[in-house]
Every structure is written in structure tokens, then in C-alpha cells.
């Protein structure tokens, strides 16, 4: 196979699995081969990605020359299909395919016995295809197409157990909220097509395209800034950045492997990927860069605070994901291209592991509510140790992977803006606290009864958030098909930081290839041992605080919650009121009741009312006419007659 065919096979391999399940195995029911099909498809993509990575590594400039194919040409508008592979793409391909493969294997155990088994694997194959298509796209329209398709898969998988009203509502919420951002993305595409005349990513970075975009302005702001803000709106929706983050916690209604793959490791990182990919444009729009950086920093801190009080283990992870994506955006906004993608990669591994660990825990306890867990360390040693490693990595304890990339982001922030730096540093403390709170509540102390206890507490026989747990009578480690992916993810969660050590910045050299350097100003910040020590100290402080509250219980969680009249706790518990504001006030009351209600009433009573009024008038008239003759001929005759009169009159007057 040629280099190009190998690249295309990355995309077509999981697509073949999807089509096979749809048209041969049938998506309804639980065909045993469905899981195998997806696993083989994704494994094929992983193999091809590895080969492609090696090919990219071998090419000077780290960019593969690939052809593109015309798709649609109308007038000046020329759209084509094409793939582009450079160093960033090749890294993303490895991350997506490797995490996807492990998640698909894990799902063999997690989804065993589910009536929608085949459908699940069909969606997963489609998702992997779309995510790879997104990463491989050489132009923004194609990227947008796959952007929407991963959104579709996210919708389908959040609502996978659509019999649960919460899941159906969460799926819709995810789609609609992200669509607000997508509108920005779409408008950015329109502006680019109209001002720059192309949507091909590399062409947009050329000097005269940038000049055209900087030259045009709208409302006193350059077209380039508008484009960057539009793209960032899309990215903020996808990557759950404030104020569009509200869909991600609810997305936890989906099966846990879905959360691991889509809502932690890959799709939610697509926003970061988009901004990073377009950074050569963003860097010419300082205002947009500032928006990206501050949105990232605010999101990082805000999400971490909400993670402090969540009792659902998956929601803790979800807030953590939002927070970590905020870090990546912060880095990008400050020009930290490599730092952002370094963290994206590390985060993909340790966060996927955390989610799969949460799934493993719920698989035996039958609940996701940490208030009904506890003491699982002995029963689930593999889960415990792997989750512990991932947690340490997330908290940023050296020498685990999370430490290295988070430290690069902090160093970038310190060099650029003290304000943003302190927001990021405060987040370090909170991160360590919430992740160890999660660990301690889940794995230490006494077991608090699991799903059965939860059901009893809620006073209903229905199961909690988990649709298929065993109820947790006899605690046990998850089957090896689930435990093995945990172990295999633990390796990169611990070690992936080694690819970009301060002394051997291999990833830095690879990502900042010659071609990238031509368009992107490098922001390389030197390693700062003092800063590293300080951030590690903050993380340790967070862990110590968590230990005091949830380990030795020297401080009572209740008393913390009721501090300052309980106001801070209630504010966090109610997610700063944003869900209420969006769902009840803006959509429910303002949009639905007031605006739509007004328009619907207008339509019914005014627009249609006038018509009916006129109709009644005509009917009265018609009743009179009907005595003379019948039918509609009169209407015509009258119209013709009047028409002729009018025209003749006008013709005579104009003479």
C-alpha cells in the first residue's frame, strides 16, 4: 500500500465495521460479532496510524504530501475532499485509535448482555470513523462535517439508554448546546469562504490570505478576529468551555465507556484541536487569543470548584474534564501550542483510565453515587491501583505524565499573565482535592451498600444512574476484559510525560516541525524548577486537605458545607445556577413561553385571524353572488375583467 492508501485506510477501517454492523449483522439486538467487528476495525485504524506515524517521522518537515479530490464546484466556490497528515495529526491519530481500541475491548465486558449491544458497537465504530475524519481533514468544511458527525454520535450514545428520560433529555441538551457553538463555527466558515476564498487549512495560513483577513473589518474589528471568535465558539461548545459547558456533566447519562472515549479523551478535545490547528490564524488576532486564554482559565477554575461537591463519581470526572480542557485552552490562548497538545495527549490517557475505573466500580456496586461506595480497595485491587495512578497523574504529582504537561501550561501562564497564572494555580489545589476526595470516598472506609442502598435511600425499586449493575451484593474485581484495558491505559497515564521531558523535548521538536514553524510563532518556555516545586506543593496540599476531610476525618465535610451559611456549597451544588438560568429562565420561560408563545398567538389570532375575518366577509359577499350563479368562474371572470380594466387604463394613461 502507498503512504496515501494507508492514511485513507485509517478512516475506512472503522467505517467498514460500521457498515458491516448496519447492513450485515443488523444493528438491532445483540449480535456477538458486532463487538469483534468494531474492535477489528479500530485495530486496523491503529495499525495504519502507527505506520503513518512512522512515515511522518521519517519525512523531513513531518508532513505527508497527499492528493485531494474535487467534491463540489459552483462558480467561485471550489470544495474538495482531502486528507492532511502532519506531526500533530499523526499524534492525534495515535491517541484516538489507541484509546478507542482499549475502550472497545473494555466494552465487551461492560456492555455484555445489553439488549442494544450491536447498536452500541455500530455507534462506536461510527464515532471512531468520524473522529478520525475530523483529525485528518485538510479543509475546514470537511472538518465541520465530521465535527457534526461526532456530535451526532455523542447524541446517540448519551441517549443510548433512551428509555430513561434523563438520558433522552441529556442527549438533546448536548446537541442543542453545542449547536450554539457550531453556529459560530459555521459563520466563521462563511466569512473565510467570502473573505479568504478558501477553506483549505494550509492555504489560509499563507501571507496574503492572512493579510486579506486582517484587512477586512466589520464593526471596527478585523474579519480575522471575528473568524477566530467564531471558531472558538464552536470549540467552546465542543470542548465544554464556559458558558457552554453545561451539557457535559449531563452527558454522563451515557454508558461509561462512551464517557471515557467521547466525553473525556477524544471528542471533547476536538475543540482544543480546532483552535490549535488554526493557531497560525488566531495568533494574528490578539483579542481572540485573550478570549481563548481567559475563557480557558475561568473554565478550569470554575469546573474544578463544581467538582468539589459532586457526589456522582462520573460527574466529578466530567467537571474534571471540563477543567482540564480549560487548561488546554488557556495554553493555546497564550500561544502554548505544544503545551496544549502535550496535555491533551496525557489527559486522554489518564482521564480515559479514570472513567473506565469509575465504570469498573459501578459495574460491581451498581451505583455511581460515591455516598454508597467506600472500601472498594480490597475487593478491586486492579481498579484501585490503576485509578490511583491516574489520579496522581491528574493531580500533577511528578514524575507522572500529568505533571509534565500541566507544568508546561503553568510556566506558559506565568510568563504571560500573572492573573491567569494564579487562576491556574488555584485550580491545581482544587484538582488534587477533588480527585482524592473521589478516591477516598470510593476506595477507603466501609462499604456503604452500593446500588441497593441507593435505591432504598431514594425509596424506589428502580436502579440509579447505572442501568445494568449487579446491585453489589458480593463485591468483586471486574472481569479481565475490563481490567486489562485499565492496566494498559495505566502505562501511558504514568509514562506519556516522558515524550517531552525538559531535557529531551522530543514532542516539542516533532510538533514544532519546519512546516509548522513557518506559520506559527513558537512560545517555548523553559522548565522552571521553582515553579515545578511550587505546583507540586499545591497539589500535595490539596491531597492533604482531602485526606484530613475524607481520610482521617479531622475536618467534617458537613461543617465545610455549612461554612458561611452554606451559601458557597449551595452555589456549587446548583452549578452556579447556570442550568436554572439556561433551562428554566432563558429557554423555558423567555424563549418558549414568552417569545414562541407570542409568535404562536400572533400567528393564530392576528395573521390567521385577519384571513378568517376576510374570509367571512367574502363568504357574506359570496352568499349574495351565489343567488345569481354558481362556482368559482366568477372569481376568475372578475379578476380577468378587473385586470384588463387596470391594464388598459394604465396603458392609456401612459399612452
Amino acid at each position: 500500500m502507498t503512504t496515501e492508501q494507508i492514511v485513507w485506510s485509517i478512516f475506512f477501517s472503522p467505517l467498514a465495521a460500521f457498515l458491516l454492523i448496519c447492513f450485515v449483522l443488523r444493528p438491532a439486538g445483540a449480535h456477538g460479532l458486532a463487538g469483534l467487528a468494531t474492535i477489528v476495525g479500530v485495530a486496523g485504524a491503529l495499525g495504519a496510524s502507527v505506520v503513518t506515524f512512522l512515515n511522518v517521522l521519517a519525512v523531513p518537515g513531518h508532513e505527508l504530501p497527499l492528493a485531494d479530490y474535487p467534491w463540489l464546484t459552483i462558480g467561485d466556490l471550489r470544495l474538495h475532499l482531502g486528507l492532511a497528515v502532519d506531526s500533530l495529526t499523526s499524534v492525534m491519530l495515535l491517541v484516538v485509535t489507541s484509546v478507542s481500541l482499549l475502550v472497545q475491548v473494555y466494552s465487551l465486558g461492560y456492555m455484555a448482555g445489553d439488549t442494544g449491544y450491536s447498536r452500541y458497537y455500530a455507534y462506536m465504530a461510527l464515532f471512531t470513523t468520524s473522529m478520525l475524519g475530523l483529525v485528518l481533514a485538510d479543509n475546514l468544511l470537511q472538518l465541520y462535517v465530521f465535527w457534526e458527525l461526532v456530535g451526532l454520535c455523542s447524541y446517540l450514545l448519551i441517549g443510548f439508554w433512551f428509555h430513561r428520560p434523563a438520558a433522552a433529555a441529556a442527549a438533546k441538551k448536548a446537541f442543542v448546546v453545542t449547536r450554539f457553538g457550531d453556529l459560530g463555527f459555521l459563520l466563521a466558515l462563511l466569512a473565510l469562504a467570502s473573505v479568504a476564498g478558501t477553506l483549505t487549512i494550509n492555504e489560509l495560513f499563507t501571507e496574503h490570505k492572512v493579510a486579506a483577513l486582517v484587512g477586512a473589518s466589520f464593526l471596527g474589528v478585523t474579519a480575522l478576529t471575528w473568524v477566530a471568535l467564531g471558531l472558538f465558539a464552536g470549540a467552546a461548545g465542543k470542548s465544554a468551555q464556559f458558558p457552554l459547558h453545561v451539557w457535559l456533566p449531563d452527558a454522563m447519562e451515557g454508558p461509561t465507556p462512551v464517557s471515557a472515549l467521547i466525553h473525556a479523551a477524544t471528542m471533547v478535545a476536538a475543540g482544543v484541536y480546532l483552535v490549535g490547528r488554526m493557531l497560525p490564524l488566531f495568533q494574528h488576532a490578539p483579542a481572540a487569543m485573550a478570549v481563548v486564554a481567559s475563557t480557558g482559565a475561568v473554565t478550569a477554575l470554575m469546573a474544578a470548584t463544581m467538582g468539589l461537591v459532586a457526589t456522582d463519581i462520573k460527574r466529578v470526572m466530567a467537571y474534571s474534564t471540563v477543567s482540564q480542557l480549560g487548561y488546554m485552552m488557556l495554553a493555546l490562548g497564550l500561544g502554548g501550542y505544544v503545551a496544549a497538545f502535550f496535555h491533551l495527549m496525557n489527559h486522554a490517557f489518564f482521564k480515559a483510565l479514570l472513567f473506565l475505573g469509575a465504570g469498573s466500580v459501578s459495574h460491581t456496586t451498581g451505583t455511581f453515587d460515591m455516598r454508597y461506595m467506600g472500601g472498594l480497595r480490597r475487593a478491586m485491587p486492579v481498579t484501585f491501583w490503576t485509578v490511583l495512578l491516574a489520579s496522581l497523574s491528574l493531580a500533577g504529582i511528578p514524575p507522572l505524565s500529568g505533571f509534565w504537561s500541566k507544568d508546561e501550561i503553568l510556566a506558559t501562564a506565568l510568563a504571560a499573565s500573572p492573573g491567569l497564572f494564579w487562576l491556574a494555580m488555584a485550580t491545581v489545589l482544587l484538582t488534587a482535592f477533588y480527585v482524592f476526595r473521589m478516591l477516598l470516598l470510593t476506595f477507603t472506609g466501609e462499604y456503604r451498600g452500593g446500588g441497593a442502598a441507593e435505591a432504598a435511600a431514594n425509596g424506589d425499586a428502580a436502579q440509579g444512574a447505572d442501568a445494568h449493575g449487579h446491585g453489589g451484593v458480593r463485591l468483586h474485581e471486574s472481569p479481565s476484559v475490563m481490567a486489562l484495558p485499565l492496566v494498559m491505559l495505566a502505562a501511558p497515564a504514568v509514562l506519556s510525560g516522558l515524550v517531552n521531558l525538559p531535557t529531551i523535548p522530543a514532542l516539542d521538536d516533532f510538533l514544532m516541525s519546519r512546516t509548522v514553524r513557518e506559520t506559527l510563532e513558537a512560545h517555548h518556555v523553559a522548565f522552571n524548577p521553582l515553579l515545578a516545586a511550587f505546583s507540586t506543593g499545591m497539589a500535595l496540599l490539596g491531597i492533604a486537605l482531602a485526606w484530613l476531610v475524607y481520610g482521617v476525618k479531622a475536618l467534617r465535610a458537613d461543617s465545610l458545607g455549612s461554612a458561611l451559611g452554606g451559601l458557597p456549597y449551595r452555589m456549587l451544588y446548583h452549578k452556579y445556577g447556570l442550568d436554572f438560568l439556561y433551562e428554566k429562565v432563558l429557554v423555558g420561560s423567555l424563549l418558549y413561553t414568552v417569545v414562541c408563545g407570542l409568535f404562536a398567538a400572533l400567528d393564530r389570532y392576528v395573521v390567521d385571524g385577519l384571513v378568517n375575518g376576510a374570509g367571512q366577509l367574502t363568504r357574506g359577499l359570496g352568499r349574495g353572488l351565489r343567488r345569481v350563479e354558481t362556482g368559482q368562474v366568477q372569481a376568475y371572470g372578475l379578476a380577468i375583467f378587473l385586470g384588463v380594466v387596470v391594464i388598459t387604463a394604465v396603458a392609456i394613461v401612459r399612452g
Binding site: 428509555h163 442543542v176 449547536r179 469562504a193 404562536a600 391594464i647 396603458a651
Partner: protein, 491 residues
Amino acid sequence: MTGLPWLSVLVFLPVAGALLLALLPAQRPLLVKQAAAVITLLDLLLAGMLWTAFDASSTAIQFVHQAPWVPPLKITYYLGVDGLSLPLVLLTALLGFLAVLVSWNINHRVKLYFALLLVLQTGVLGVFTALDFVLFFLFWEVELLPMYLLIAIWGSPPPLGRREYSAMKFLIYTILGSAFMLVGLLALYFSTGTFNLVDMARADLRNTAVPATLIFWLIFFAFAVKLPVFPFHTWLPDAHTDAPTAVSVILAGVLLKMGGYGMLRICVSLFPQVAYTWAPTLALLAVVNVLYGALVTLRQGDLKRLIAYSSVSHMGYVLLGIAALGEVGLTGAVLQMVTHGTITGLLFALVGLVYDKTHTRQIPELGGLAHRMPFIATVFMIAGLASLGLPTMSGFASEFLVFVGTFPVFGWYTLLGASGIVLTAGYILWMLERSFFRGPLARFDHVGDATLLERVPLVVLVATIMIVGLWPRAVTDVIRAGLQPILSRLG
């Protein structure tokens, strides 16, 4: 393709078929249905043959059939297709055939029903192929009577519906529009001395007997009612709600397109300068349609009314693309007509199935249907996603072209129009959630999924939506041929 005047055969085959149906014994309804299916299938095959034989590299009118008709008044019998009309001809033939399949459960006055359906098809095909204004007008009127009767006789009876009211409303609205069109038609005739639309387009219309702007708006009004354009749209939800399923499919699928087609074929082609002058107004009307339609859609609790109002919103994009008066926008507008025809046709077919099986269309009464009718639910979701403009499906291609075409001309209107995609996602997904998701309801325990015959139209339409979505060139190459003469006139 030489020999027979194929276009005339295409147009008049259905009406000939209607006469044939009249001769069939009334006590054999199945035979009547089969005959109708065969006739419309033949018509579809014929349309497909024309599609393949069409030379997309030529901007000329093709398959012309021309004959003198009323020589003293220079009225001619003149049929022909170009890239503008051919996609709509094929769409009409396709939906005509599928409408017969969708009507398989009709058991009341079967002969008359199918005969009217066939007459209707001749009327619509005639509108899309007539190139003499008088002939165009006659076909425009031919469509009225069968539509009126189909709604009034086979529509939702009281107390569920108001079929006679809705049928009459449809009739009055269209006739009102026709009256204005007729005035415009005569004005044009007195100005140019011809009814030939091709000649009219070449004529100098700067010094007409009546101001060109007035003629433009007189004729535009007739098409605006049909499209429909706010505030002349309220006949549409009523007509849809009370029409039988197949008629809804035809109504949304092709009848509305007569409006958009007329605007392009007559208003824009004949009066490019007027169109230029008034383009901002058209764009404003379009955006009002999109947003007003979407906001009202959000409030609808009846599945059919919901889809009907969403049509108002989506047809706004047709007008928006037209208002841009450029190649990309016009291509988008024509493509949007085709894609909306298939997508909304599919949605109405699905609503019909849901109603047949559950006996309700009220969304609050539905719920959990995906458990009972997974096939219908899946296709409904595909149609809904297509409607909300999900890429890889045809709706995205056409809306994207409309936006790209409009953005450089009317930036703000494009922004407002594009924001409709958020509202569309809202009402489509909320409708799916309430109707198909959540737990199964006991009262639908014995409700079944689509039968094999019922699946045929669904599968055909889904395939069309996907093919056009993945490879829009299949249609846009033809459309381009049809737009060149208009574009050269626009300068």
C-alpha cells in the same frame, strides 16, 4: 431520445392513467391501486430516462415540444425542460410514485382518490415544464381542483380536523394568488406581445405598459402564497393537518416548490433589475420566514402542524438563496427545494405511519415509540437529522450553499437566517425525544412497526437524501445548466 415527444408523454401519462382508472371496476380497489402504482412508476422511469438523456453541459431548453395552439393570440403549446426544472420534474415523478404507495391503506372511493392523485401529478409536471405563460397558468390552476377534493373528501373529518375549512382555505388563497398572476400575465402580454416565457425573458422589459416593478410584485405574490412567504402562510399548516398523508407528501414535497420555481422562472428571469432592486426586501422576508416559522414550530404539539411550520421556516432558505442573486445562492435555493421535498416528504410519510398506528398525532400523547416501532423511529430520526441540516445529508448541502451564497451580499440576514439551525435542532430533537424516547407506554403495547410495503417509500427517500448529501454534484451539475441563462441576464 428521439421519436415521441417524451416530455408531453411524461406530463400527460398520469392524466391518461386517471382515465384508465375510471374504466376499472370499482369493486376491485387493489387493481386500481396497482394500476396507479404502475402508471406513476412508468412516469418515474420516464423522468429518470430524461434525467440521463439530459445534456447538463448545454444551457439550452431540452426535450422541447412546441406547437401552435391559439395562433391569433400567439398562445403556443410549449413544453421543455432545463436544469432549473428537470430536478423538480424528477422530484415530482418520484414523490408521485411514492405517494401512491403511501396511499395503499385508502379504502374510501378508491378510484376517485387515485384518479385525482394522477391528475394532480399532471398539473404539477405541467407547471414545471410549460414555457408558455398561458399554458403555465392553466397547469397552475389544474392542480387546484384535485387538491381541494383530496383534502375535503379524504382529509381528517370532524371533530378531529376541519377538512372542508382547510380545503377551502387552500383554494381561496391560491385563487387569490392566481388572480394577481393573471393580471401580471396580461400586463406582460401587452408589453411584449408574446406568452412565450423564453422570448419574454429576452425581451426588453424596461418600458412596459405597466411599471415592471408592479408586474414583478403581482406575479411574485402568487408564488409567495405558494412557497409560502409570511404572512401568507397560514393556509399551509391547516391544509397539511387535514390532508391525507399522501397529499401532505405531495403538498410539502412539490407543490410548495411551484412557488420557488415560479419566482426563478418568471420573476427573476424576466425582471432581473427589479429583483436586484428589491433583493434586500426579499432577504428580509426570507429571514422572517426562517425565524418566525421556527419560533412558531417550537410551540406546536401536533406532529403534522410541527412539520408544516418547519416547512415555512425551511422554505425561507429558498427565498434567501434567491435574494442573493448569485450562482452559489441560486444553486442552493434550487437544491434546497429538492432536498426539502425529499426530507419533508419523508417526514410527512412518517407522521402518517405514526398516526395510522397510534391514532394520534398529539406529541404529548405519544412517547416511547422507539420501543414499539424501531424502524419508523430510526427513519424518523434520520429524517429529523436531515431536516436540521446534519452534514452528509442533503439538507446540509443546500443550506450551506444558500449561506455561502448569501453571506457576502447580506451578512446580517445570513447570520439571522443561519441562527435558525439552532432552533431547528431544538424543535426536531425535542419532538423526537417526546414522541419516540423515554419509557414504553402501555397503551402502545400492541402497536406495530412499518410493514414491508410501508418501508419502501421510506428507504427510497432515505437513500435519496444520503446520495444527494454525499454527492450534491449529482444534482448541482444539472442545476448549473439551468441557471446560466438567468445569471447572464443578472449580469
